[in-house]
Each structure stands twice: as C-alpha cells, then as structure tokens.
C-alpha cells in the first residue's frame, strides 16, 4: 500500500505489518506519534496486539523484556530522555537476549531542554549490547522494521535491536512510502519461533544472580551474537531485496564510492543530506563519495576498512559527542582503520539539538578537510548568538550582586 505519511506513523504501520503482538510503552513526552498510532490501531481493532501503557520508560522496557519471554513478538518506541530512563533495562534486554525491536526517535538530551534531532540519546546507549541501526529515509524506516525482526530473531543473534530515526526530519515530516501488507511480510519474515519461553512446565528465572565465576561468559556470548549479526544483516537485506525489490544497504550503504578520492562518513538523515553534497561536488569534477554507516552496532569494521582503503581523506560527520574525547562515529571509524589503512580522517560536529545542516555546509567542510585546512575536530556550526550573551550578562550581574553584599 502506497501512503503519504509521517515517519512515525509509517513505523507504527510497519510494526502492525510484521504482526507485533505486544507493545509496552510510556505514552507521554518525549514519546512520539509511533505509540499514538499503535494505540489507535489497537483501539480500532486494526492491530491484533496487546498495548501496555506503563508508568515510565524503565517499566516499558521491563515489560518489553517480559512480553518477549512469553514467546510473543514485542515492539516499543521511545525517544531521548525516555531512552535514557530505560538505560538499566536496556542492559537487561540485551543480557536476557530478547529479540525485541524498539524504534528510537533521535533527539537531543537536555539540558537545555530540547526536543530536536541529534544522536546523543542512542549513542549514549552504545554499550548496552543492543544492535543499532540508523535509517536515512521514510521508506528505509518501514523496511528496516521488517528486516529488524529477521535479524534479531535469528537464533545466532538473539539480541534486541534499536531502530533509530532522526527526529522531525524523518519522524514528523510526511513522505510517500510503500507499506507491505501482513501477507506480503509473511513471504519474507516467518512467525517468531522462540528458542525457549516462560512455561510453567519448565519454570526458570531469566536474568538471575550470577557469580564472578560464571559471569564473563554470558557477556562474551552477547559479543558472539553481535558478531553473528554481521553476516545476518547482509543476508536479511539481500533477501528483502529479492522479495520486495528495495535496497537500503546492509551494514553500510555506499554512494558514488567506486572512483571516489575523498569520502564523507555519516549516519541517518545527515547521510541523505551528504548525498546532495556529493552530487554537487561531482558536478564540479571533485571525486567525492559517501559511506553511510547503517549499523552502528555491530560496527561494520570490514566494510569501513574496505571502502576507506586508498582514499585521500575522510570527513566523519557526528551528530553527537563523547565528552572528553570526540565524535563517537569518528572514534569508531579510526579504530576500524588503525593498523590496517592509513587515511587522514577529520571530524565534523554539526546538527546538535536539531540545528539545520545544509548540503552547502557539508561541501564547505569537505573542501577544507580535503585541502588539509581542518584540525582533527571541527565544531562546524558553532557561533555565539544573542541568546548565549545571557550567560555573560547574568554572570556580570551576579558579580555586582556579590560585591554589593560584601560592602
């Protein structure tokens, strides 16, 4: 069915198409219309699923884990502070190895309070054991919900999957997209076949106490699941193309990289924007290509190495920051290359808190990075405005206040 819809509604419709059976969620800010639509669909009898509105995101994730353990296909959605509040249970979901899918609408974390797009929320959950994918279009959001269950329910993976879509740019804007029917999805995605489930005939406790002598192996097992996903993700993408005829890349997506001398590396909608920059630079005869990191976890080491080998330079765009270090994607890309490929890599920090990033700004920074004019890290759109002056003014006023008090 071809629809003109918001990214949020499309994700909800895709969750319905994959036959999700339980949706636990916290329905209040910063929740998005994904859950609003799921609730609507269930209330109208158009979605055969149990909706569990809970009192917090922490509980939403706990219910998500439990729902999956009963053998049901479970789904949830959250955003920014909601995801942050789930942090503890994110570890539980990964540690208990439940193949759930959760959409996260990428928004900045406060303060200052800000509901706009950046990747700080999900990047901050990098080490919880979840698989992470970043989509770059409305259609990819739909198709990745479907692919996500193929990946996470694979018995060699069995790790939760976080589907990240950029706030507003993808979540709230309307775009045309194809949403497959349940019958069409069944040709690609079989019903969930759990390895085991909660059953009174064989009672067990999942996520129980575990002593130092037995702990490490469970964590190594999670990493093995992540490693296995590296081959399941491309397989799921290939089979998706065979059934639906659409392709959004596998672990990564490359664009005009074949003869590229310089590459932009980015995630999410900034990669879509970079595509425009690549086309414009190509028109000027500059051989630039784009490497879009689709899966951030597991990180596509092999793909990054292969695609970056022999280039004159790379510009890694981060819409996040690891404080005291650098952009998170920048760190990962360099780690993939270290000891394998020698390529100059520069980091561009832009688009934090939803600031608009234009293709011209990307072009300008690509040209400067390629010419060797950029330092390691560039805050590409940082400039002081009238609003920032308030800090200075209040500081001055406070200084006066304190000196008056002393006299």
């Amino acid at each position: 069915m071809r629809l003109l819809e918001t990214g949020n509604h499309l994700v909800a419709l895709a969750a319905n198409a994959v036959g999700v059976e339980v949706v636990p969620a916290y329905p209040i800010t910063p929740q998005t219309q994904i859950i609003e639509m799921v609730a609507d669909l269930i209330a109208e009898g158009k979605m055969d699923a149990e909706y569990i509105p809970v009192e917090s995101e922490h509980s939403a994730c706990a219910a998500l884990v439990s729902a999956s353990l009963t053998g049901a296909r479970a789904f949830s959605a959250t955003s920014s502070h909601g995801l942050a509040y789930m942090h503890e249970m994110l570890h539980y979901a990964a540690g208990i190895r439940v193949p759930v899918v959760m959409a996260n609408v990428n928004r900045a974390l406060g303060p200052g309070w800000n509901i706009w797009c950046d990747h700080q929320d999900s990047v901050s959950q990098r080490d919880t054991g979840w698989l992470q994918v970043y989509v770059a279009s409305h259609q990819e959001a739909v198709d990745t919900v479907i692919q996500a269950y193929r990946v996470t329910e694979d018995h060699s993976v069995l790790l939760p999957l976080m589907l990240n879509l950029d706030a507003f740019v993808l979540s709230h804007t309307y775009m045309e997209a194809e949403v497959p029917t349940k019958e069409e999805v069944l040709r690609y995605l079989p019903p969930y076949a759990p390895l085991w489930k909660l059953d009174p005939r064989k009672p067990v406790t999942h996520g129980s106490v575990i002593y130092p002598v037995d702990f490490s192996e469970t964590r190594e097992s999670m990493q093995l699941g992540q490693d296995n996903a590296r081959s399941v993700v491309p397989q799921a993408a290939e089979e998706f193309r065979e059934v639906f005829g659409r392709w959004h890349g596998a672990m990564v997506e490359s664009y005009r990289t074949d003869d590229a001398e310089f590459l932009i590396v980015a995630m999410g909608s900034l990669a879509s924007e970079s595509r425009v920059s690549v086309d414009a630079l190509r028109k000027e005869g500059k051989a630039v290509g784009l490497l879009r990191v689709r899966f951030f976890r597991p990180f596509p080491f092999e793909e990054v190495r292969e695609l970056c080998a022999g280039r004159e330079g790379l510009l890694v765009i981060d819409r996040d920051y690891s404080y005291g270090m650098e952009g998170a994607l920048f760190t990962e890309v360099k780690a993939a290359l270290y000891g394998h490929e020698t390529v100059p890599v520069r980091n561009l920090i832009v688009g934090l808190g939803g600031r608009d990033v234009t293709y011209e700004l990307i072009i300008e920074n690509v040209e400067r990075a390629w010419a060797g004019e950029l330092g390691d890290i560039t805050w590409g759109d940082s400039h002081i405005t009238r609003a920032h002056e308030i800090t200075r003014e209040v500081l001055c006023e406070f200084e006066e206040l304190l000196s008056e008090g002393e006299s």
């Binding site: 540690g95 208990i96 190895r97 018995h155 069995l158 390895l195 009672p203 067990v204 406790t205 999942h206 996520g207 129980s208 106490v209 575990i210 037995d214 702990f215 192996e217 469970t218 190594e220 097992s221 093995l224 699941g225």
Partner: protein
Amino acid sequence: MSHEEEVGYMTSVSRPVKGCAGNTGEWRVFRPVKDDEKCNNCLLCWVYCPEACISKEGIEIDFQYCKGCGICAVECPTEAIVMVKEEKQ
C-alpha cells in the same frame, strides 16, 4: 570444539530450586507465631507469603527460609499470626 562454539548462546538462567538464595531464614528479625485456635484455615497467609514458606497442608512455616517480613501477620483476617522479636543467640 572452538572456544566460541563452547560459549555459544549463554545467559543468566536459574531453576527455582529450594534454597537457591541460601538460608534466608538467618535474615529474620521478627518471627511469625501462629495461634492454632484463632486460625480458620483460610490460607490467605499461604497465598501472600512471597517466599512460599508456608505449607498448604497444615499451614507449617518453614523457618529455614522465612525472612520474617510479616506479610502473613498483616493479611491474616483472624489475627492468628503475630510477629515476635527473635531472641539474639
């Protein structure tokens, strides 16, 4: 078998074995004491005991595992269970 194959799929799972958390009765500060004359055998204590320390037959309390939480005493409709402070040994 490689080390990776040996690790394979591994999670923290336990079976509900009696006493798997140790002799939790040692934690007890207050002990539930039952008055058989007041007890009407309604089994609410058996239903509410979070540690399954009360037997359905005979309403016997297992003091090896009873933590002394007092829920049974609160729930008992005939006040047949009272909490008595344990004597220090």
